[in-house]
Symmetry: C2
Subunit: 322 residues, 2 copies
């Protein structure tokens, strides 16, 4: 029988579920709404039903190794989601315990946050196979990170390590979504790129820019990329600056952990050299001589669309390893 | 027989040697000059002779568990010192291999950099006993750091991890000794505090400050402390600002690793609350809500004078553990 693990990605609106084979391929997937009502028992019943339905829908019978869950503010040690601002569940939700009740036959159930799950996905199925020390940065609405040291994810003393999006790049800089100022996320997330674009439009009074016709609500990182492709100076400078900011942050991470490689994941990385080149240059500029020209910055090999469930499913293999 | 390990601290001018018991007490110590001539074989002969002499000088006969060495640019994986700017030995020096030739009877020989050795010392003998996730910052002429994750020191993929003194606090800020700009070390080392004092003297034209009578070459962190004790406004603000800078850097480290505690070691920490209080306040201000009021900032429990050899000797216990 084919061995599979189940990956669950709990987002603010939807919960995606995937059955993933040992090579990291999604065999079947589905999703249910993440409820706005906060009734956790009902939601877990729905989730369990959806998982069983998905497993039974395939033509073949699987050996199910376990279930991995990725969720915002996911605490690996406790198997809980804690005070997640974008979910309707209040306080501390014991997701793994509630799932275990519904799947008593499974030995391996685990939960962590989205970026940690992506890092484990990269390690189990992707470009970080065989690497013992690497870092994953996920660039999207926010900036997440997963740190791997000596082959294991860094969870810290409380299960919440790896929040590199909230390191400070610029003292008293831009307001971050978390309430602090100058954090990396406020510059290097997709909304951060938009903010940079608007700063540059204002700075240059650039009414001839292709970006000048979009409102603050409309502009996204895809539009900035399209404009850059057409040689738009403002758009090109957005990528230069985003790379400069990100490279500074990555250098801080290197000075902490000296990883073999840093993987970048998420929408903005589709811009390829526009973002990778200035990021690499800026990182190198900030590094101590002993680290220069040693650390690769690589695009994630996980499929952007499925990465969250694939990453979550990979958690199961790390549990089996232990 | 009493079990001991030998700690060796290779500095730019002197090499300190200590025989350390299982409680971290220095039973006997000695030192030899670190030569300016770069003849490594001769130096290793002298070092081996000094170690044997020290072991034989005591009234009792010891069971010697091993030798641990702390050195600038020490690479744990390779047992080498690599391109250390302040030592006369050029290129890559295989210290552990050369020491092993002179002590074939010892099973446990290891080397790392000074700050990593201090972190291991704190873990084996000091305030970090029983902690699995903590960080050590050493404040002195430079700023070093040692990171402990899941009970093990973080060496990274190349053996050089833990250079948090070279994270960037202020983009395009003060010139750092390494050639980059705005690094933590340029603000939070003892010379960094002096630079802050001189900036403030200039800013306030503070000829009435107790610090106004000292030249740039004369002023040190002890004098700043003494002036603060007498209520000198400039000196007090130096501590406020140093804490503000350091707290920002510590928050970056917390966002990476979520340690249980951060230990501070070195001359400037003797100022107690003058430095700990603003550091704590600044760190908290920069942290995500999930980390607030959770991470202790503690003074190292290692004796400042002997910490380097005590830390180095502790390496031996980590080797035995493996």
């Amino acid at each position: 029988m084919k061995k599979v693990s189940v990956g669950v990605d709990i987002g603010g609106t939807n919960t995606a579920i995937g059955v993933v084979d040992e090579a990291g391929r999604v065999i079947a997937k589905n999703s249910i709404p993440t409820p706005g009502h906060g009734d956790i028992e009902k939601y877990m019943d729905d989730l369990a039903a959806a998982i069983r339905k998905l497993l039974n829908s395939a033509d073949e019978i699987f050996t199910v190794l376990g279930i991995g869950v990725g969720a915002p503010n996911g605490n690996y040690y406790q198997g809980t989601i804690e005070y997640a601002p974008n979910l309707s569940f209040k306080g501390v939700v014991p997701v793994v315990e509630l799932l275990k009740k519904r799947f008593p036959e499974l030995d391996y159930l685990a939960l962590t946050n989205d970026a940690n799950a992506a890092a484990i996905g990269e390690m189990i199925y992707g470009g970080a196979k065989g690497m013992k020390n690497f870092v994953m940065y996920t660039l999207g609405t926010g900036v997440g990170s997963g740190l791997v040291v000596n082959g294991d994810l860094v969870y810290g003393h409380d299960g919440f390590a790896g929040e590199c999006g909230h390191t400070t790049l610029i003292p008293d800089g831009r307001l971050c979504g978390c309430g602090s100022k100058g954090h990396l996320e406020a510059y290097c997330s997709a909304p951060g790129m938009k903010r940079t674009a608007f700063e540059l439009l204002a700075k240059y009074n650039a009414s001839d820019s292709l970006l000048a016709t979009k409102s603050f609500s409309e502009l996204d990182s895809k539009a900035i990329y399209d404009a850059a492709e057409q040689g738009d100076k403002v758009a090109l400078e957005v990528f230069e600056l985003t790379g400069k900011y990100l490279g500074q942050g990555l250098a801080d991470t290197v000075h902490h952990l000296s990883p073999e490689a840093i993987f970048l994941f998420g929408g903005p990385t589709a811009a390829g050299d526009y973002i990778f080149k200035p990021t690499k240059e800026s990182m190198e500029e900030h590094l101590l001589p002993i680290f220069k020209d040693k650390i690769a910055i690589l695009p994630s090999e996980l499929d952007c669309g499925d990465a969250a469930i694939v990453g979550a499913s990979a958690l199961v293999y790390k549990e089996i390893e232990k």
